[in-house]
Structures are given as C-alpha cells and as structure tokens.
Amino acid sequence: MSLAQNFSRGIVKDNPIFKQVLGMCPFLAVTTSVENALGMGAAATFVLVFSNFLVSLFRKVIPSKVRIPSYIVIIATFVTLVDLLMNAYLPALHQSLGIFIPLIVVNCIILGRAEGFANKNKVLPSVLDGIGMGLGFTLAMVVMATFREILGNGSWLGFNLLGESYQNQPLLIAILAPGAFIIMAFILGFFNIMEKRKRGGVK
C-alpha cells in the first residue's frame, strides 16, 4: 500500500465514523455545535498521530501478550502529559480544547488504530494513517454537527443562518441526545444506500 493511500484511506474509504463505526461516544456527545466538532476533531487528530507514532516506535519492544494494556498506558500517559503541558504553557488553547482532551483517552479510534495499524507498520505510514483517520473523524464530526447545529440552534459555527425567530423556537431535539441518534441513523443509512448502489444492489 502506498504512503498516499495510507493517508487518504481514513478520510472517505475507511472513514472511522461512517465505515468503521468507531468512536461513537464523542460523535454523539460533542457534535452539538460545529465549533465543538472542530475542537474535538483537532484534539483527537493530534493525539491519534502521536499515539500511532509511539505505538509504532515501540511495536518490537512490547510483548504481544500485554500489548493492549501497554497501549492504554502509553496513550493515557501521553494525553495527560499534553493536558498538563497545554494547561501550563498554552492556557488560551487549553481553554478551548481542554474539555475535549480527557474524553479522547476513551476514544476507541485511538486504540483501534494502534491495534489495527500502528503495531504492524513502520513509523511513517503509521503517522500518515493517524493524520488521515483524524481528518476523516473531524470531517464526520463536522457533517453531523452541521445538521444538529442548523436544526437545533439555527446557526452554523455560531453564525446565525435561520434568523432570530427560528432561534427562539428551534427544533431543540436535534441538539439533545435523541436527536443525535436520529440524525446518525439517517447519515449511516445514506452511506449504506450509496454503498449498495455502487455494488448495483439497489435499483
């Protein structure tokens, strides 16, 4: 597999949300606004790249029997270090991304890529895979958040689209938890139909 494919695979073909259906917790919880989706996406991409890097770097050292606990320790440590350092030296960035960082430790995309890719591949492909999967995750988050923010708040990235009167009485369910499931069902259904069409299964 070429390096370019390592990178591009995560964005559409193997999109972590729409195709692998991984990382559903942040996808459902943090997509209430496009701003949050971008913040979570950026933070997750950052962690994904570095966890793939570290796991790939140590893949020959860590015995395969204890690889999962080792990965979790490595990832959790790395995330906590970033959280502390960012809080101390980049407080402005921490203010906007800080709330997402503890959520990333439990994001199964990170462990999924560590186990599914980084522990079998060299460092450079693993880093590219991390960037691609991170971008794919961010893209999926933004798509979901676009629907939810426009329907639930009448705005996109905080910019008022549907006017004051809509914002006073929006379709509130879209940004509440049930709305997340409903919209996710539509999006996943759409992707499944597209997939079947491509194979000629649906008339």
Binding site: T32, I62, P63, V66, V73, I74, A88, Y89, P91
Partner: protein, 203 residues
C-alpha cells in the same frame, strides 16, 4: 513461568516509565497551573467588581463570625471579599456560588452591593452539556437577568416566579436552577449574618 515474569516485568516497566513521566511533569506544571487559575480568578474579580463602582477598588477578605456556609460540601468556608473604593467606603461584596448542575458544579462569581442587590456576575467554571447547559457561560442567554435582583426575586419562572421570574436556558432547566438557587443561598447566608439587609431593606 519465566514467560509470565518476563511479560509482567515488561508491563511494569511501561507503567513505571509512565508514572515517572507523569509525576515529573505534574510537579513542574502544577504551580504554574495554580497561579494561572489564581490570576484568572483575580481578573474575573476585578471585572465583576467594576459593576460596584469605578476607580481603584480595594479587595479585602471579609470575616463575619456568624456567617453560615451554604456550600459546605464544596468549599470549606463561604469566602466573601469586601470591595471598598480608594476612600475606604464599602461598596459591596464578592462571593463564589457553587451550584450542582447537570454534569458539573457551576461556580458563579457574584458581586452584590451593600443593599443586597446583585450588580454583576460571571461564570468561573462549568462543564455542562455543550450546546445546552454550557450556554450558562454566555451572559446574554441567562445571567444578564441576575442584575438588579435581590435574594427574594431570584427565582425561575418555572419555579413559581411568575411573570417577574427568570427565564431558564432552553433545554437546561437543571443548570439554570442550580445557578439561581446557589446564588440565592449565598445571598441568604449574607443577609442572615447581617452583612446585607433582608429583602432590600436597611440593616
């Protein structure tokens, strides 16, 4: 048997390296983080106290022996800061109200003048649901209504406040109620201790 020990030692090594790294970074960053929190709090205090009066304001810890603490579970004492202007006349008080919201304890810094009327406020900390309860940080959504009210008029419309009551944040009654009740509890404690008059009267 030798295999188990080898694998176990490897896992222990990973954990020890992680623990040392975390301990070291934490010891370096925690004083910086604490100082930043302190500075952010001071900046918020100066900002909120600006509603009490202009000029060089002086902050001083107020100690009232019979002051009850309505936030016993969160903070050891109800820390009240007396605000005086440069001539020494007392303008009002600052205190932090702790209200248990939906997913966090919302901390609201309140400025109250000597006659018991709220003049300014800001949210110091909250981790409420993004897109819903987190709107409590946006003064235009909810907290603007607190100004010019006293303990007796701080009540949500939903909780029997009638037409004069406060509008809760849409979809976030729990957060709105938590903040309202915590501020009211703080004001009540102050008036019970004789610091501010009851119901806007005179002491």
């Amino acid at each position: 048997m030798g295999e188990i020990i080898r694998v176990g030692l490897m896992l222990m090594l990973v954990a020890v390296i992680a623990a040392v790294a975390l301990g070291y970074v934490n010891s370096v960053t925690s004083p910086i983080i604490a100082e930043q929190k302190e500075q952010a709090k001071l900046a918020a205090m100066i900002d909120v106290a600006g509603s009490l009066g202009a000029g060089n304001l002086v902050f001083d810890t107020l100690s009232v022996p019979e002051l009850a603490n309505p936030y016993a579970g969160v903070d050891e004492t109800l820390a009240v800061v007396a605000v005086t202007d440069s001539t020494g006349s007392e303008l009002g008080y600052l205190f932090v109200a702790y209200g248990k919201g939906y997913s966090s304890t919302v901390q609201t810094l309140i400025a109250v003048n000597t006659s018991g009327t709220v003049t300014g406020n800001t949210v110091l900390y909250q981790q409420e649901t993004p897109g819903l309860g987190a709107n409590v940080s946006n003064p235009a959504k909810f907290l603007y209504q607190f100004d010019d009210r006293n303990a007796s008029t701080l009540v949500l419309k939903k909780d029997g406040g009638g037409a004069e009551g406060l509008d809760a944040i849409t979809g976030s009654t729990i957060t709105s109620r938590a903040v309202t009740c915590s501020v009211k509890a703080g004001l009540d404690a102050l008036s019970d201790a004789g610091v501010i008059p009851v119901e806007g009267g005179v002491i």
